[in-house]
Point group: C2
Chain length 245, copies 2
């Protein structure tokens, strides 16, 4: 970030992204190790340019961190507590650490910017994890996919943001058929069911689930997926593009 | 607003409230006539003090405009288009009108503040319309209850904000049992049904609706409401407080 933070961005307003991926029957979230926060974990985030919409800012941040264009994303809540501020007594170490760093890189202005109060707009995004090439942002040391069941201690209210994002995902997964965005292009019905079971943390009767999926008329049947005995090989499907929410 | 706007409030961030009321089988919204906008209509709104949470700011604005404490409110979306700005070419008349006004009341700083870009946090609120005593804010001339079906031309994207709020209300009315907040303390089942039919713009079979309401086990039966023949008088109910969402 150059010295022109206040010229370039809307002050006191940030974006945090809960990027969901799905792998090995686990729902995962992309989190960032934040050296300046004493090595604590945080959500990938950023600021909003004065000349771009808040949605465009979220898309820009997501594209930068994942290397993907056209990611499915949705704002789900703002987090506006008055104590969302790094410059609070219990975060004094962070301001100090920032000041210890190369002053060319982090001017007093940038330190003032970063350590002020931020109202955060929470976005969740759904990606095909196999396509993501993570790239750290300016304040990330590195990014890591972490199972939703093993989230480490997070900065600020970032744990709470993940909880709200998961709630929003559960509400909308069924209604808006966005779950397919977490899967590779082709999949078996069983894989769809496993995804749903993972997100909702419960099991569904296989026949009911299969019938329900078929009744939605959004899947296109492809060829069989041969991995073992051909008589038990399941069909592969893909999501019909025109049915996208 | 005194000259200290930038000291007191978070810049570029505002709140707009879609305050729903229900009267004469109509869903209504409280809107404000905004003299400075050339007499156009807008949603009651305000800014966020640097020392208060965004939710607290919304409560403060709502309390001021309605005279009610403890209003049910919920944030539902932010509106962050880069062209949410009064100081755009097609709003030049507004800046000019502001400048024409008493300069004690509106300093250049305030004019710069008001006419800049704002990211808006949308809240919807549900009130018992019979209890509201409206009070104009600093930039309202007067407030008026307006049927959702006859909303006049609104400033900026305020019409769109109402549309999103109505969508959020419909989504949550059933799930969170918040509809009772639009009714007086006691009501008949038929009145509840009329409310639901008004919000969803469709009719429900009376027996199904009644059974569904009773099955929820959130209503307390009181005495009969005698207005005509006593043999057909319906029972009055009230919402059990402990069931509030």
């Amino acid at each position: 970030m150059k010295k022109s933070a206040y010229d370039q961005y809307i002050p006191h307003l940030s974006i945090d992204c809960v990027i969901f991926g799905y792998e090995n029957k686990e729902l995962k979230v992309l989190i960032s190790n934040y050296r300046l926060g004493g090595g604590s974990w945080s959500l990938p985030g950023g600021y909003i340019k004065k000349t771009e919409s808040v949605d465009a800012a979220a898309s820009r941040v997501l594209k930068h961190r994942t290397g993907l264009e056209d990611i499915y994303l949705e704002q789900f809540r703002i987090f506006g507590d008055e104590n969302r501020i790094v410059n609070s007594p219990n975060n004094a170490h962070l301001s100090n650490e920032l000041r210890k760093l190369d002053s060319d890189r982090y001017s007093e202005e940038v330190i003032e910017w970063i350590t002020g109060r931020f109202v955060c707009v929470g976005y969740y995004a759904l990606v095909d994890i196999s396509k993501v090439q993570t790239q750290p942002g300016e304040f990330d040391d590195y990014l890591e996919w972490c199972s939703i069941n093993h989230i480490p201690a997070m900065m600020h209210d970032h744990r709470e943001i993940i909880t709200y994002a998961l709630e929003a995902l559960r509400e909308r997964l069924d209604k808006k058929l966005i779950g397919f965005k977490l899967l590779p292009e082709t999949f078996t019905i069983k894989e769809v069911q496993q995804l749903y079971e993972t997100v909702y943390e419960k099991s569904f009767p296989i026949n009911n689930f299969q019938k329900k999926m078929m009744d939605l008329n959004v899947l296109e049947k492809l060829h069989k997926k041969y991995t073992g005995a051909s008589n038990t090989a399941p069909y592969l499907y893909k999501f019909k593009k025109e049915s996208v929410a």
